[in-house]
Amino acid sequence: MKLLIAEDDTFFRRLLEKVLWQDHEVVMTESGNEAWTELQKPEAPRLAILDWVMPGVSGPEICRRVRQSPALSSMYLILFTGRNNSADIVAGLRAGADDYVTKPFDPEELRARVKVGENILALHTALAAQLAAANEALKHEKQLQELLLSVPCRQLPPCSRDWRGIEAYLSQRIETEDRNCKGCPLTIDRPNLQLTSGSRRSPRA
């Protein structure tokens, strides 16, 4: 997975990279400003490890900005810092960090914490994909309904009471009227959606 590291200290930057590069595509930044610019790009990493004190924007400030930005707010942010008392941890988490790793760090622990973030992001990505698929299905469904309802009965050919008849007729009509009709619901196999959970049957009106 793509992840961003923001750390101004060369030693820790190298160390982080060494621990993470094998499993991840690492985007390396050396200041808060650079990190904030990277995170706003399209296709930006969705997981970031942020040093607390950096030139420019601080780690906690980046956390706050990410949480306030609707497009970025689902990112997974790990603060990386030498501050290890509870008050700092609380301040960091309250700024919007998901997790907190203190220097000096244990490589295995860092990998494990990154993995947690990866799992949570994967879950959100899967849900977002399901939502997109549902939207796509709904769009086709609406087009199909429009087509079915827009054809007056008397225009339907003989034997159109058979639903095969209707659909054959409609696709034929569409083909002759607009041969380049892309995205026509009658020519696209609608994904077989899972039914709304807990309602195998339509609700009673």
Partner: protein, 333 residues
């Protein structure tokens, strides 16, 4: 309270947050620690469900509406914290709860092992109430994002599967359901029934009383059909004024009985709106099968039966047979 040294933030300084709707499950075998944790969490504003060991916690998690924020002790009799994490994550495609693993151990190997077993975060006793509260807020934010995505997905799926006017299954979905039930019926060696119905003279209703009244009729007829069928039957809108009911595990006699019930439910009382009182009837064609067949063949046979019901005077039920499907199938609504 040897384990609960309040290191940085005294509990008295922790303000309740907007956690009213959120429930937390704590699994902790140490009675004293459980009680302290419980009182802290309540002070934060959470609803607390307490379990005295891992087995009890697992039992609670099997129930509907179980808490989604979990604080699990590492060392517990029966099922320990990491094992509980593995079981929870092993459940597959269900809601993803946020898990905080708590332990008195302070060996880094344990952190790694705990997180690898499925925990999202890890706290070592003694811990600070302020830190606990902040970590729970993180969990809550992650859960809320997940809930929001699921809510949006379910809403769109509902719209994609249901008819906007009547709220019953739409055409695509009822046909999918029919296909699925036919396969299931063959596998289970049971009979699947299909009823195809068409409102009688619906065009006249629209012409005479207007489309708003026409829509009101479609909605009310949908409602009456749903009340007349069995709880596990599927009712869908098949066309403008056509409905399809799929009846799993239904004999020919039962099918006829349900069809009659629907016919009577529609015909027995006029449909009344603020501007009209409309006597509505429905013609129904039914077919039942237990042999492997295409939904197309079945629909075509049901359609022929419906045609027979129309031809024989409307407001009728006719049962079709698969052996002799009629070829004629055009009739004015």
């Amino acid at each position: 309270m040897p384990e609960m040294k309040q290191t940085e933030t005294p509990i008295s300084e922790c303000k309740p947050e907007d956690s009213s709707s959120e429930a937390i499950l704590i699994a902790e075998d140490d009675r004293i620690f459980r009680r302290i944790l419980q009182s802290w969490l309540q002070k934060f504003g959470y609803r607390v469900v307490a379990a005295e060991d891992g087995a009890k916690a697992w039992e609670i998690l099997q129930q509907g509406n179980a808490p989604a924020l979990l604080i699990l002790d590492w060392m517990m009799p029966s099922i320990d914290g990491p094992e509980l994490c593995r079981r929870i994550r092993g459940r597959g495609h269900v809601f993803y709860p946020y898990i905080l693993l708590v332990t008195a151990k302070d060996d880094k190997q344990d952190v790694v092992q705990g997180l690898a077993s499925g925990a999202d975060d890890y706290l070592t006793k003694p811990f600070d109430p302020g830190e606990l509260q902040a970590r729970l807020q993180v969990g809550k934010r992650i859960l809320e994002l997940q809930r929001e995505l699921i809510r949006a997905r379910e809403e769109i799926r509902f719209q994609a599967n249901h008819d906007g006017l009547t709220g019953i299954w739409n055409r695509t979905t009822i046909l999918n359901l029919l296909g699925g039930e036919l396969k299931r019926g063959v596998r289970a060696r049971t009979t699947t029934g299909v009823l195809m119905m068409d409102l009688d003279h619906f065009k006249k209703i629209n012409d005479e009383y207007g489309h708003l009244n026409g829509d009101a009729v479609l909605k009310e007829v949908s409602r009456r059909i749903q009340l007349a069928v069995r709880s596990y039957d599927f009712v869908g809108r098949y066309g403008g004024e056509e409905f399809l009911v799929v009846l799993p595990h239904c004999s020919l006699d039962d099918l006829r009985a349900v069809a009659e019930r629907i016919r009577c439910a529609v015909a027995e009382a006029p449909i009344v709106t603020s501007t009209a009182e409309m006597a509505i009837t429905v013609s129904i064609g039914g077919i039942a099968t237990s042999s492997p067949m295409l939904d197309l063949e079945l629909l075509s046979a049901a359609d022929s039966a419906l045609y027979a019901a129309k031809r024989n005077g409307r407001n009728r039920v006719e049962m079709g047979s698969m052996a002799t499907p009629t070829q004629e199938s055009c009739v004015a609504g």
